[in-house]
Symmetry: D2
Subunit: 247 residues, 4 copies
């Protein structure tokens, strides 16, 4: 293999990454998902990326699918301040524990609130999430990493995020009750730390998010043509056989 | 909105797209999924993309998770010749009908056979699917577009494809038995052709695949660092707090 | 067909049914899911079943997987009073809207809190949910009925509920934005009310829940052998080739 | 706990169980899924149940959603002979390996072919699957038991099977490549055989299928009212507020 790959192909210190942990446990209770996200954070920080973290359950997020639910009658909604961080971040990493093989309820609150902004547009007509990239970190003691990743990535992609190759990482032990990621085993070693599959995936995922964010930022965002629903465009310009945005 | 977006930002006539239709119906029986994929094909062809199409059920694909199942005792396996097309294509679009809310069995055969190549590497150490992009086209008369898209996109992403924003399109009618995409309604109009949501998504998806393929091709593939499991790389180089590929 | 089926085969007026609506909207805002659950409620009430309804988002349910989260440091948790209703009910119907093809965050809160009781046992050693039956009601304007039903039924089954045949009902319109169940169309007719598929399924589901609850109640619960993890049972008694609960 | 539960509450030797293994491997290649299904089979046989097994990939099953695809132009279709076994069985157990977190393509072929019979009716108007019960057995080396169980149980339930509590069993090891169920570990012990969670669930599942089949058989099938779409029934008889089968 050529030597060129022994160093990062670019700089990433202008990038911002936001980690939202959707554990059900409030601070300061330790979160296994947080422990695994520490790997992603360390890799990104090693490249000078600005990393910010939010534990969503520590905030009072209203239920609903509007950007600010206080405008819908809720007394309090901490989402708008979290949204500012999402908006500013080039990279979003969603962390979630598994319950009955699925992402947590808090993760679904996050997805619903992100979705609430799918009505908003950038100046170029694209959804506000275009030009961003995302991935997920999943922990449990048993089963469901792929299913929760499917759901999370689909939601991100559906609202405008670009999903890099292999953008998920997880750790689960043998089926049934048992240790969660980072719990000490009989020998005092933290579960999953020596799992090459998990650590390699965490590495690949972190770098692929960096590469994708780099590409998108260098391009000035995701290319803006065909994806803005611009009513001035004819079907000929778009190449559609029979439909145009103004029809 | 600026005028710059009224024309495509690049040329795409060096790109190759492969459409694999996973309908359960053999040629020449009409396929609703094919009818919807016609929209994606037309858009890509309008930009000079080389488009090839395969109806998988017309071929005898062995069950299994090896690249060539004749080496595992099967008398016949048409997959290796399809694989050559997958390998050559910058863009892969998987089409599938819905049965009980899921992608077809033929779609799962395709995913299993793609997965069979996840043991292969490019010269730079990446999975062979790195540098490619993909999406999906889904039809049914009832329900399941998002679920089937989740599964399909996750599989593609997991083996190395980059998933653009909004890379799925589907059409289903009101819940319950009814017309499928392109079936004539009482007035003789083809179902779904006038559904702005579907036609817009087909347009967005097609363009986002083009943009992503363009970006990746211009970069010489997906950037190769951190994602090749290169044993010469130390944890310091990768930024991992405690793990390296040679551990 | 024999005439015997023209009347219900039993009485059901000793049964209790609980409907938990997991809409994101608080009372008194109308809920489409509620409108569809009205059909199930009417059928059950026609047989004298005691029907109770809860809109979960009207209550302050803590996040977590313990029966009472005030014991885990939360100031308030309304779940224990809801739990009493779940415990008393022979039939549980979970209603949920669809967001991005999935059940709502509130539905996942419900599932997590139900799961919290999977550590509790009946006197006969079974999980506390054994002997109960359940189903789900799903509304959206677009897609995901089957996927949300899969998740909901699996959760119920996994903790001890018996799932009757065809125990789900849903309504979605043609893919894309549009009316939700019960919204008035241009002619003033409520969407979905004339959908035979939906109304028939609501009928079948309601009756199958009644039949299953009847069977289970008449048996004194779900038969208690092999499912209680009783350490006095040998592998010979259980028929297991090599494992017994005391191993 | 009362002594009554130390013996089975009934006899089961008039029951028939069919195990369909959806492994991708043809006989005589060993199947991990088969090894786990051996536990269920042993428990059922210990009670005198007639047990039959089919490895679906050993047969030539056509793709399609009709009962006999030779009537749709396929030269050969072994499904009709398998169907006879399904029709005769009180209990159906579907076994599947996991690939990319999902059931196998062969499992989806099975589901599609079962679904093909959802247009058929019993004399009492019910779907032909009413009165039967089913469950699933899932193996892999990594992840996806719950997701595959959701899909499989939903399909069974949707066509008429009753799903008992906890009707799934699976084994997966720690995330990443590794042993599959029954593979010998370094000490020569078969993986998963000593996993109490898996062996207990196999036991519970087997017994719950027996109990449910017993209940249904003793009742002469699933009670036939409200679930047969009988056009002679009025909305008053069914309790529906505004719809009847003849509307």
């Amino acid at each position: 293999m050529a030597d060129t790959k022994l160093a990062p192909p670019a700089r990433y210190d202008d990038l911002k990454a936001l980690f939202i942990n959707c554990t059900l446990k409030r601070s300061p209770e330790p979160s296994h998902t947080d422990t695994l996200m520490d790997v992603n954070r360390a890799i990104m920080k090693s490249q000078g990326v600005s990393v910010e973290s939010v534990r969503l359950v520590d905030h009072q997020i209203a239920f609903g699918v509007q950007p600010d639910m206080t405008e819908q009658g809720w007394d309090r909604d901490d989402w708008p301040k979290i949204w500012k961080k999402v908006e500013a971040a080039d990279i979003l990493v969603i962390g979630t524990p598994l319950w009955l093989g699925e992402e947590s309820s808090v993760a679904r609150v996050l997805i619903e609130r992100l979705y609430a902004h799918s009505g908003q547009r950038q100046d170029n007509g694209q959804f506000v999430f275009y030009g961003k990239t995302g991935g997920c970190v999943i922990t449990g003691n048993e089963d469901g990493v792929k299913h929760a990743a499917m759901t999370t990535h689909f939601a991100l992609s559906h609202i405008g995020y670009t999903i890099p190759p292999q953008a998920d990482v997880g750790w689960i032990g043998e089926v049934g009750p048992g240790l969660s990621y980072g719990d000490e085993d009989d020998s005092g070693a933290p579960a999953g730390f020596d799992n090459a599959f998990t650590q390699r995936n965490a590495t690949i995922m972190s770098w692929n998010l960096l590469h994708t964010a780099r590409m998108l930022k260098d391009q000035g965002g995701f290319p803006a043509f065909g994806n803005q629903n611009d009513e001035r465009l004819s079907k000929q310009q778009l190449g559609h056989p029979f439909w145009s945005p103004d029809s």
